[in-house]
């Protein structure tokens, strides 16, 4: 049963990933990527990592991809602007990289003796919110904090980029008489 669900999810993930690369419309690509994210979340659930699955849906499928779609819709990108596919050197480079990745995965799969798939073992140990939180705040505290500092720096950078310059007279906020806020 679990194996069947795994195959369904895995095929779904692979097919939607392929669709993402091959479809010409940016919105279709973005939606395929979202589908891939959802299928991956399903795979996480299958591996008893409920928290990671939920976070995958909230952060990637829910927040980041909405921003992607927002930008695509705001710029109203058409399929005519997708000229990257004509660049043969980049195409070859990407193909080589992809084949190399698949090769590495196959090697690791063969080396491990084909037992990468383990269902339902130690679900209470690592999948729960408590277990992940404990790991994050004890064993992996330093990487966690470094990542958070990195995010803080990114937020500050974004604010500075988006902020209006106060001394610039042209950029001063237009004041509507009688209105405030």
């Amino acid at each position: 049963m679990q194996l069947l669900i795994f195959y369904i999810l895995a095929f779904g993930a692979v097919i939607s990933a392929l669709l993402m690369v091959t479809s010409k419309k940016p919105v279709s690509s973005a939606m395929s990527l979202i589908a891939t994210m959802v299928f991956l979340a399903g795979l996480y659930v299958l591996l008893d990592a409920h928290l990671i699955a939920a976070l995958q849906l909230i952060v990637y499928a829910g927040a980041i991809m909405v921003l992607f779609l927002f930008v695509i819709m705001l710029l109203n990108v058409d399929e005519k602007e997708g000229r990257m596919a004509g660049n043969t050197i980049l195409l070859q480079f990407g193909a080589i990289l992809a084949i190399g990745l698949v090769f590495i995965m196959m090697v690791s799969l063969v080396k491990s003796g084909g037992t990468l798939l383990v269902f339902g073992e130690g679900a209470d140990q690592f999948g729960t919110t408590k277990a992940v939180g404990k790991l994050l705040f004890t064993e992996y505290l330093l990487p966690f904090e470094i990542a958070s500092v990195l995010l803080l720096a990114a937020i500050v950078g974004a604010v500075i980029l988006a902020k209006r310059r106060i001394d610039d007279p042209d950029q001063k906020e237009r004041i509507i008489p009688g209105h405030k806020g």
Partner: protein, 356 residues
């Protein structure tokens, strides 16, 4: 095994029947009639069967017939696949999210342990957030695929608004999680057995902020800028007709029910009556035998839960028909400049008080 199956199927049927069979059609009527009574009007009362109007309730049936026989219209130049998929994307999360909300406690019936929640997930609350964040795509895609400028503006507004309020909503709920120390909604419910441990007394600010964010996330007035009918026709569902339109509409109503369920579970003692513990309830019904007492206690708890839910539905409807719409920049300012800092302050204070 068989008992488990029967139990889950019964629970699923109950929740689906309650949501799709009862709440979705009745809320359509409630929205019309309540707004009418509130504004000194009469409201829908014309549809009748053999002269009986049942204060306008038959309008739901008339609506259903009308909607099913309407043409399913796809505008020229629209993306057919996404135009068809968008209503489903917005309806399914609204239905699914209710499955982690407990509508009763744990009871022992005929030696079988019954837990009145469809799926008692360890990450219950995050599951709700995850699926409600997926509902954004319904609005965004519906707006984009309609090949209509008003729809596109509505979709853009919906994406920006829902994204912003999702962030704020996640932060408002952290105070509750810190108080009860769990993401499991059943555990949070069990911990509110004592009246003075209800979430509203622990997190009054959190309740106000969460309700605001939840209404904004549901895109209802005063936060209905994505569908602002006086500015952009009907926003992201301008080009929808027939059954697809109703799916957006049902999704909105089911989300009202879900929000009420979450608010009840997190802040208003879930299925508990004030000052009455489960033990007291069981001993009160002792005259019916142990099984009968369990059944009666279960019915009382379910009724309590749904009465609270109905109260919050009524409250959301009142808010919707009381307040005027915010301007779009005001919506954004409210989110990023008021709710977000306030929820951070709420988390900070909660941390000082409870964690010590």
């Amino acid at each position: 095994m068989l008992a488990d199956m029967i139990e889950s199927i019964a629970k699923i049927l109950f929740i689906f029947g309650m949501n799709i069979g009862f709440f979705a059609p009745v809320l359509g009527w409630v929205e019309r009639k309540q707004s009418a009574v509130m504004q000194d009007r009469i409201g829908a009362n014309r549809a009748d069967i053999f002269g009986f109007t049942v204060i306008g309730l038959f309008h739901s049936i008339a609506d259903a017939i009308k909607v099913l026989t309407k043409e399913d219209f796809i505008p020229t130049g629209a993306n057919k696949f996404f135009h068809t998929a968008a209503p489903f994307i917005s309806l399914v999360p609204a239905i699914v999210t209710f499955c982690v909300i407990p509508f009763g406690g744990r009871y022992t019936l005929f030696g079988h342990d019954v837990n009145l929640v469809i799926s008692d997930l360890d990450v219950g609350l995050l599951f709700i957030f995850a699926f409600s964040s997926l509902a954004t795509y319904g609005a965004v895609l519906g707006g984009w695929s309609s090949n209509n400028n008003w729809s596109l503006i509505g979709g853009l507004r919906a994406s920006a608004q829902m994204l912003s309020y999702e962030v704020a909503m996640g932060l408002t709920i952290i105070g509750v999680l810190m108080v009860y120390g769990s993401l499991k909604l059943t555990e949070i419910g069990v911990m509110q057995e004592n009246f003075f441990r209800w979430g509203i007394f622990m997190q009054p600010l959190g309740f106000v902020l969460f309700l605001t964010c939840a209404i904004a996330e549901n895109k209802r007035a005063p936060f209905d800028v994505p569908e602002a009918e006086s500015e952009i026709v009907a926003g992201y569902f301008t080009e929808y007709s027939g059954m697809k339109f109703v799916m957006f509409w049902m999704g909105e109503f089911l989300e009202i029910v879900t929000i009420s369920g979450i608010v009840t579970t997190l802040f208003f003692g879930a299925w508990h009556l004030p000052f009455i513990t489960d033990q007291m309830l069981l001993s009160f019904f002792q005259f019916a035998g142990s099984n009968g007492a369990s059944i009666l206690a279960m019915l009382v708890n379910i009724a309590t839960f749904f009465i609270k839910v109905i109260f919050f539905i009524w409250m959301q409807m009142t808010i919707r028909w009381t307040l005027p719409r915010f301007r779009y920049d005001q919506v954004m300012k409210l989110c990023w400049k008021m709710i977000l800092p306030l929820s951070l302050i709420n988390i900070f204070i909660t941390g000082l008080v409870f964690l010590r």
